[in-house]
């Protein structure tokens, strides 16, 4: 029973969506400030979701009806589950299980798969172009991120979140040494791509493909997708905190703000990259850096 409460109320759906939507607001506000503009009010995230629920849902004929509506909800459920597991062990409420770090990472991948499903069934040529880009993007950022996760787990000697946190509590968090910093930079860029933010927002490039992959979503379905993206914006930095910081709530919050500011900075300082650039970038530079960090970690630097 307690799991259900965790899932719905505290670290789960309610808490995560509030935190996620506030982060989305922070992101839009800071970006607007950077362009001498005054950004949206604090409740903007909630207003967007509320409005989308208020609108009707249009399902294109070619799209397979129920699948079209179920997919984003399925994505949303998966993301909330991932965030619950993360927060439960982060706040020390109950022991995690072995291998939950891998489970969390692949739960985060489900919304992208849901998106690919929607994009391909919606029968709109634009979103099919978006789908091919999303798949390429997923392939490219998974490789370096996987190396980083496995390295951290091996370093801490256990594949469970609480184990990693325990290890860091004893002999210092990973960020404090060389391999930690390199791995942290790699992880930041992977998260930027996973969230589909500007340098890598190829699948739903707004005017380019007319918000490509999202082209056919409307109303409640779009609200589900936006909510899952907001929760991911909250969940992924938490994931990094556990991997690289590990101890203390206050330290965690500070680290969280640092990561969010970094994400905003990246978004505002470079134009969108072409898809082949992105792939070359991830497989070339990022994987190289991850391997280098792994070697350093192995040598015990």
């Amino acid at each position: 029973m307690s799991w259900l409460i965790y899932y719905i109320i505290f670290p789960g759906f309610i808490f995560a969506s509030i935190a996620g939507l506030l982060t989305v607001w922070l992101d839009r506000k800071v970006s607007a400030r950077v362009q001498w503009r005054e950004g949206p009010p604090w409740y903007q995230g909630f207003a967007d979701i509320g409005k989308l629920l208020y609108k009707e849902v249009i399902v294109p004929e070619e799209a397979f009806g129920s699948g079209f509506i179920a997919a984003p909800l399925f994505g949303l459920a998966a993301v909330t589950l991932a965030v619950t597991i993360l927060c439960v062990s982060f706040f020390g409420m109950s022991e995690g299980f072995i291998g939950d770090i891998i489970v969390v990472w692949y739960l985060f991948a489900i919304p992208s798969i849901a998106l690919i499903y929607i994009g391909s069934t919606s029968g709109n040529p634009l979103s099919s172009v978006g789908v091919s880009r999303e798949i390429k993007l997923m392939l490219s950022y998974d490789l370096p991120m996987a190396i980083v996760i496995v390295m951290m787990a091996l370093k801490a000697g256990s594949f469970s979140i609480s184990g990693i946190m325990e290890w860091q509590r004893i002999n210092g968090s990973n960020i404090s040494n060389w391999y930690g910093i390199i791995a942290f930079v790699v992880a930041i860029f992977c998260i930027q791509a996973k969230l589909g933010r500007v340098p890598f927002d190829l699948p739903e490039a707004e005017t380019e493909l007319g918000s490509g992959i999202l082209l056919e979503l409307s109303g409640g379905v779009l609200a589900a997708y936006e909510l899952s993206k907001a929760i991911m914006l909250f969940g992924l930095p938490m994931f990094l905190i556990i991997l690289f910081w590990g101890k203390g709530i206050i330290g965690g919050v500070l680290m969280y703000l640092l990561i969010v500011v970094l994400l905003i900075l990246i978004k505002n300082t470079n134009p969108r990259v072409r898809i082949d650039h992105a792939m070359k970038y991830f497989w070339g530079w990022m994987s190289g850096a991850a391997v280098l960090a792994a070697i350093l970690a192995h040598l015990g630097a």
């Binding site: 362009q35 707004e206 380019e208 007319g210 978004k267 300082t269 470079n270 134009p271 990259v273 072409r274």
Partner: protein, 404 residues
């Protein structure tokens, strides 16, 4: 070799007028181009046959939003050519001021958009920020940001009073500084040189063959400028020079536009300073005899041509209008051949087709897997190209940041 053709629907997410281009492409190379316009056809020539001589400027002004004073100017010149009357000197200088103000704000708008196409979004925001001061001057002098309704056959509708002239003179000075900074930043930026030089070349012979107009032809070394070729007597005693570049690529067309802004600023200052005191501002034409007249004037995009024929009644019997883009648009066939898709967005912007209404280019794939390339797609391609040029040069210029 597989030819790709991408059709692109007229409605575009960001905004712009609905113009539809089909580009026949082999791989990345452009082979042929097909244009489909007509989404904006409003039957203006037929309408002006049911308007009196004084109402037509109001109609003609709304042909194009950003060269909205060149059309009435050419129309009034046509009617004055038909009637053969003399316009008071003060009215002519007021006309010169309004037309040159519009030339600056149209060129600044173009500079912003060209910057947007190669990824310098700061240039876009800055150019449009300084354009606001020009719009303020226009609003102060004529009462409206764009459609000024200042001209009528025989002279000008309203006069400038002392206070308006001071406001304009002092504001125009603090516009020149940022344009100077913007021009220097753009002209000596290595990435822009590498990016814009040598693409979309319109040779002099092609420019003559298509009778291209305005900056598009002056960029290829063809010195056609109506203000010089058919000078109004208002222009005779103002000192200015026609800006001509030789090599006809996108860069030289840009340079022509940027340097023209400075000419316009000096023209405005000269015109405002020696406005003759008092004097009538209207030769008030009583009635228009039978006959015909052609009037033409240098709009920001090229020469605007109006032909008017009257059969003695108070409405024009026939009124032919030809906007500059009508001649410049087909030049794409010559300048886009052999270029890559990434550069096409820039070439379409280089002739500044009446506020990038043709910036959405369609690249069609022959074996009909439609690869939709929208404007931002093209922008991204060109931005991607800028990025790897920068890698080669190994320097990220200050202008290059802030993706909107």
């Amino acid at each position: 070799m597989k030819q790709t053709i991408i059709p692109l629907g007229p409605y575009h997410p960001l905004l712009e007028e609905p113009e539809h281009f089909k580009l026949y492409v082999e791989g990345e190379k452009v082979v042929d181009l097909d244009v489909e316009i007509g989404y904006n056809h409003r039957g203006i020539e037929k309408l002006s046959e049911s308007k009196t001589w004084d109402q037509v400027p109001y109609l003609v002004e709304r042909i194009c939003g950003i060269c909205s004073t060149s059309h009435p100017m050419a129309y009034c010149l046509a009617v004055e050519d038909l009637v053969g009357c003399e316009i008071p000197k003060r009215a002519q200088l007021i006309r010169v001021v309004v037309c040159e103000l519009e030339r600056i704000h149209s060129h600044l708008l173009w500079v912003g958009l060209a910057g947007h196409f190669i990824g310098y979004n700061t240039v876009w925001m800055w150019a449009w920020k300084y354009r606001e001061t020009i719009l303020e001057i226009c609003e102060k002098l004529t009462g409206n940001r764009n459609h000024y309704a200042m001209f009528k056959p025989g002279g000008v509708r309203r006069d400038f009073n002392k206070e308006q002239i001071e406001f304009a003179l002092e504001k125009i000075v603090d516009v020149e500084k940022p344009i100077r900074m913007l021009t220097d930043a753009i002209l000596d930026d290595p990435v822009i040189h590498k990016r814009l030089k040598g693409i979309g070349v319109l040779t002099k012979r092609e420019a003559v063959n298509y009778s291209a107009l305005g900056p598009t032809s002056r960029g290829s070394g063809v010195p056609w400028d109506v203000r010089y070729d058919e000078p109004l007597d208002g222009f005779k005693d103002l000192k200015w020079k026609v800006i001509v570049q030789k090599d006809g690529d996108v860069f030289s067309k840009g340079v022509v536009r940027l340097l023209e802004c400075f000419e316009s600023v000096s023209l405005i200052k000269q015109a405002l300073l020696n406005l003759p005191e008092g004097g009538a501002i209207d030769a008030d034409i009583k009635e228009v005899p039978q006959g015909e007249g052609c009037g033409r004037y240098e709009a920001p995009r090229g020469e605007v041509f109006h032909y008017v024929r009257s059969d003695g009644s108070n409405m024009p019997y026939r009124h032919k209008v030809r906007a500059p883009t009508f001649n410049n648009l087909p030049t794409f066939k010559a300048s886009c051949k052999g270029e890559t898709i990434a550069d096409v967005a820039l070439i379409t912007a280089s002739i500044d087709p009446c506020y990038c209404c043709t910036e959405r280019v369609a690249v069609v794939d022959k074996n009909n897997n439609e690869k939709i390339l929208r404007e931002k797609d093209l922008v991204k391609l060109s931005v991607g190209k800028t990025k790897n040029i920068m890698k080669k040069i190994g320097k990220t210029p200050a202008l290059y940041n802030l993706e909107i």
